[in-house]
C-alpha cells in the first residue's frame, strides 16, 4: 500500500516541475501551463491529507475536498482570464516570448 509520504513526495515532485517550468521556460503559454501543474500538485496533497485524517464517522475529511473544488473553480476562471490577457498581449506585441516584453524592465 502506498503511504501518505509517497503521495506527498509525488505531489512535491509535480510542484517542483511546475516551479522549474516557470523559472526556465520563456514561452508565456508554457509558463501558464506550469502554473496549472503547481496548482494541481497542491490539490493532490490536500486530497491525500483528507484521506489520511478521517472524520468522526470514519469517512474522509470532506472539508479539504470542498477546498479542492474551490481551487479547481478558481483555476478555471484564472485560465480564461489569463489566456485573454495573452491574446491581448499578442495583438499588441506579436510575441509570446517573455524576454521580448520588457517595457517595465529597470
Amino acid at each position: 500500500m502506498a503511504t501518505l509520504g509517497d503521495y506527498l513526495l509525488v505531489s512535491g515532485m509535480l510542484f517542483t516541475m511546475g516551479f522549474a517550468g516557470v523559472l526556465l521556460r520563456r514561452n508565456i503559454i508554457i509558463i501558464f501551463m506550469s502554473l496549472e501543474l503547481m496548482l494541481n500538485a497542491a490539490n493532490l496533497s490536500l486530497v491525500a491529507f483528507s484521506r489520511y485524517r478521517l472524520g468522526a464517522d470514519g469517512l474522509p475529511n470532506y472539508n479539504a475536498q470542498v477546498f479542492v473544488f474551490f481551487i479547481i473553480t478558481v483555476a478555471a476562471a484564472e485560465v480564461a482570464v489569463g489566456l485573454a490577457i495573452i491574446v491581448a498581449l499578442y495583438r499588441a506585441r506579436q510575441t509570446t516570448h517573455v524576454e521580448d516584453i520588457n517595457a517595465l524592465k529597470f
Binding site: M1, A2, T3, L4, G5, D6, Y7, L8, V10, G12, M13, L14, F15, T16, M17, F19, A20, G21, L23, L24, N27, I29, I30, M33, S34, E36, L37, N40, N43, L44, V47, S50, R51, Y52, L54, D57, G58, L59, P60, Y62, Q65, V66, F69, F70, I72, T73, V74, A75, A76, A77, A80, V81, L83, A84, I86, V87, A88, Y90, T96, H97
Partner: protein, 167 residues
C-alpha cells in the same frame, strides 16, 4: 488500490508533467498536460475522492485543454526556433528548483505519520458527492456564492479583454 497501480499512475503523471516543461512545441506541451492530469485524476480516485477525480477530468481535459489548444492555434505558435541559449539562468533556475525539492523532501521525511498507510474507511464505498454537496450548500454557502460572483467577473473580464480596441 494496489501499490503498483499507484506507482504506474504517479510515474505517468510525473513523466508527462516533465514533458510539459521540456517540449519545444506548445501543442505537444498542452497534450502532455492532459495526460498528466488524467494520471492525477486516477490518483485522486485511489484516495477515494471520486468527485474530485471526475471534476479534474471534466474541467482540465474538457475545458482547460481546449482553451489552451484554441489559443495556441489562434496565435499560430510554432515550435520555438532555437534562441541564443543563456546557460547561467538555466543553471540558476535548476539549482533553485532542486533546492526547493530538497526542502520538500526533508519536511516530508520528518513528518510524523508519513510512513503509515492510510486508515480504513468505515464504509466500503464513500458517498462523497452527497457529503461534499451538503458541506458546499451548508457550511461553505458564502464562499460558494462568492465563487459564483468570481466566475461572473471572469466572464465579463474575458469579454472586455477580447474587444478589438481597449479603451
Amino acid at each position: 488500490m494496489p501499490a503498483f497501480l499507484f506507482w504506474i499512475f504517479a510515474i505517468l503523471m510525473l513523466v508527462f508533467g516533465a514533458a510539459v516543461v521540456l517540449n519545444r512545441n506548445p501543442v505537444a506541451s498542452a497534450l502532455s498536460l492532459v495526460v498528466s492530469f488524467l494520471g492525477l485524476s486516477a490518483l485522486f480516485m485511489s484516495l477515494d475522492a471520486y468527485l474530485i477525480g471526475i471534476l479534474q477530468i471534466l474541467v482540465y481535459a474538457g475545458a482547460v485543454m481546449v482553451l489552451f489548444l484554441f489559443i495556441i492555434m489562434l496565435l499560430d505558435l510554432r515550435a520555438e526556433e532555437r534562441r541564443k541559449f543563456n546557460i547561467v539562468p538555466v543553471i540558476g533556475g535548476a539549482a533553485v528548483s532542486l533546492a526547493l525539492f530538497a526542502q520538500i523532501y526533508l519536511v516530508i521525511d520528518q513528518l510524523c505519520g508519513a510512513k503509515e498507510t492510510f486508515p480504513r474507511l468505515s464504509a466500503p464505498r464513500t458517498d462523497d458527492v452527497r457529503a461534499i454537496g451538503l458541506l458546499l450548500f451548508d457550511n461553505f454557502n458564502l464562499p460558494f456564492q462568492i465563487i459564483a460572483v468570481l466566475v461572473l467577473v471572469a466572464t465579463i473580464g474575458v469579454i472586455v479583454l477580447s474587444k478589438k480596441e481597449l479603451r
